[in-house]
Symmetry: C2
Subunit: 435 residues, 2 copies
């Protein structure tokens, strides 16, 4: 555990580069002081830049998982190699708050804009009595709320048979969002009688836009400037984004610059070119995600090191409200036991659950299911396919074409060697339903 | 808002240093791809290291405020210049979760240890039936909870007349903590009849130790390995710390390595040399913090830029449980109005409140008070002094000697010029009660 002076110097040097610091006499005094204590087990966390802005342990190296480096997962949304997306490393996380630097970020179709908040405005116009333009300062002088909500990409499950939980479910995260309820802004501008939808537009190169029904806009939608206590980061929409609780990620427009009140949904470029599936079989009948859950520990790619006491842990969530109950099976769904909920249960937020489990060294199939406050129960893969009247081959062909809301139960298989693999059976023939 | 190519190159270079990356062909491909898009308003957030681990906007430069560089604030705890403490920049934060890199960290009396989690253990022994040693892996296989709790230094208010809210209240933060309830571990080892206290010991150079009554240890104390979704960071106790909800910060032993069950409180070095005040007038009659609140926006050092609509916002908390109500006064306490609570109200957690307020350009004194679920009302400074039978001069002399729990109301004065200053009157004669 002890570090040599040479190691220390290397770390300090790197540390100084991090903050872009020139070594001022003050900084040197601090660094020198720590060096004197190097005989103890003290590292560079005393260096000035680490005191100003804390760092992780050198033993913690978890990162997001970059997408777009290969096309082995075929989806209609082909990641642009120069504008990569990244998944949340779910198996490495504790609790329910996703650390902001590890929160998934979907591909940015036109790159991440570099916005000066002093120059950024939000225009609210359309079928309103008084169109208004808000500066960031003006938005911060309005009533606000702070709420914990999950955010999930509609294409969160492009490959249900991926090896790890980051591969199967990594396009989601959960944050404390702070911002102005959209209803406050719409009240300021005054809605006209014909108003029935809003169109939200981003400041990115492609002007990403999305239509949202007025009822939802007046319900719990936020114009958010804060995420987990700090300003929303650039890859999450700095300085302003929509948060549309429980709805698909694409509704949560980043870099928000305009809200237009209209009398019908607009079919934007993103929608008609990439996100709408014309096949009525796969047409979605709701915007909010259904009940869902997944075991993150143990999960695919991990290995149980010992027989005996373990804890099965995971996340449950529902776009329809709060989680009522989570059940866990260790025998592939033959029997279920109710899991403990490890923290506060908040609506449309990740809910952490766990179940103590004794592994006897035999094969086991671990899976969880969520019951939400509307009494919606998370389905099995077979139930899901039956609902949509699809064969399994068709289902998997459809998944890859962005069916979305693929909330069926995820089993993880524990082998006798302790290795954990995806418990969903291979698909013999994937049938492209659009072919 | 556009960046030049030269700016881009500088940023990318610095970015590569941050992650300590050697420019591999893969990384170069990514960086080159972004450079091609520089004609758009795209910055280095597409660079590989930013995708792996997200970054803040270049317009967001908030840091912790380093203490220990001057001795202008005289306290019994003299910060070691080479082991600086740092305060949370409260005025810059939104919501209730403190971003981990900005969460206050008190002085580390013996530096921050560099602990390899694979070698770290927690020993639980003393008046128990089966002393046990837990590895980190074993702890992670036990039942756990995730809870949002504030953490506050007993010396949070060394200078109630500081200029800014970071100066008056910056030694506190609020996080989602994940870990094993201490009661689970104590149940594993089996308590003997004489057990009535525990002593928690740290792995730092000075073996910081603290005694905690058994009733509290069995109630809501956590042995925490997770903070805001990621492993607890080194300056917060990596890989393991105690979280003792509502109690003074010093109870929340970092780098936890040993818990000894005993039959009486131990008077540790830290306690008898630095933290106990022998004067019975200032003896504390409870361990948990009382009801408290402070306005963070607008607060000292800020300046109102315009007349008209503003929102007064701040944090309320109580070591005794949940916040029941927060009231805000804009006339120095003559009248109060009930504030809105902006998010979920969780026990022993920061609670964000706000009150819309129209500034007419006249002088105003803004202050908040908290009523907690035990019906304890936050006192004024005068009420606090009266309770302890101290003159104001004595009170301020005592504050500087670590009275602790200085939860009286904090007024901020808004001048006609919009400038916000500390509304507590100057103290004519500070009387050192220990003199």
């Amino acid at each position: 555990m002890k570090r040599t002076n040479r190691d220390r110097r290397r770390f300090l040097k790197q540390g100084a580069a991090v903050a872009g610091l020139v070594a001022t006499p003050q900084a040197l005094e601090l660094a020198g002081g720590s060096a004197a204590a190097a005989a103890q087990t003290v590292v560079d966390h005393n260096a000035l830049e680490s005191v100003l802005y804390g760092k992780r342990s050198r033993f913690v190296t978890t990162t997001r998982e970059v997408e777009g480096r290969s096309h082995s997962e075929q989806t209609l949304i082909r990641p642009h190699p120069h504008r990569p997306s990244a998944r949340t490393p779910l198996a490495e996380l504790t609790g329910t708050i996703t650390p902001t630097p590890l929160h998934f970020t979907t591909q940015h179709h036109y790159g991440i804009p570099d916005i000066n908040p002093d120059e950024h405005t939000l225009r609210v116009e359309g079928l309103v009595d008084r169109p208004l333009v808000f500066t960031m300062d003006e938005l911060r002088r309005l009533p606000f709320v702070s709420r914990v909500y999950f955010l999930e990409c509609v294409g969160n499950r492009p490959n249900p048979r991926a090896e790890t939980v980051t591969g199967t479910h990594g396009r989601m995260g959960c944050s404390e969002w702070t911002g102005v309820p959209l209803s406050v802004l719409l009240d300021e501008v005054g809605l006209r009688d014909a108003a029935s939808w809003i169109v939200a537009e981003a400041a990115d190169g492609g002007k990403h836009t999305k239509s949202i029904p007025l009822g939802k806009a007046l319900d719990d939608v936020l114009v958010a400037y804060g995420q987990n206590g700090e300003p929303v980061r650039p890859d999450h929409g700095y300085p302003l984004r929509l948060v549309v609780p429980g709805f698909e990620g694409i509704y949560n427009v980043k870099w928000l610059k305009r809200i237009k009140v209209v009398d019908q949904p607009y079919l934007s470029f993103q929608e008609h070119s990439r996100f709408l599936t014309p096949n009525p079989k796969t047409q979605r009948d709701a915007y909010d995600f259904g009940p869902n859950s997944v075991i993150t520990q143990p999960s695919g790619g991990q290995e149980l090191q010992a027989h005996g006491a373990h804890v099965i842990s995971g996340l449950a969530w529902s776009g329809s409200g709060a989680v009522r109950k989570v059940e866990v099976s260790t025998d592939g769904g033959a029997t279920y036991r109710e899991a403990e909920l490890a923290g506060p249960v908040l609506p449309k937020a990740h809910t952490r659950f766990y179940l103590p489990w004794r592994w006897n060294g035999e094969e086991a199939v671990l899976q969880s299911r969520c019951l939400d406050e509307r009494d919606q129960l998370q389905p099995t893969e077979a139930e899901y396919a039956r609902y949509w009247n699809l064969t399994r081959g068709q289902l998997y062909g459809t998944v890859q074409s962005q069916l979305g809301h693929c909330n069926w139960i995820q089993p993880w298989k524990v082998g006798r060697d302790g290795k954990v693999t995806n418990g969903l059976e291979p698909v013999d023939v994937v049938v492209d339903v659009h072919a």
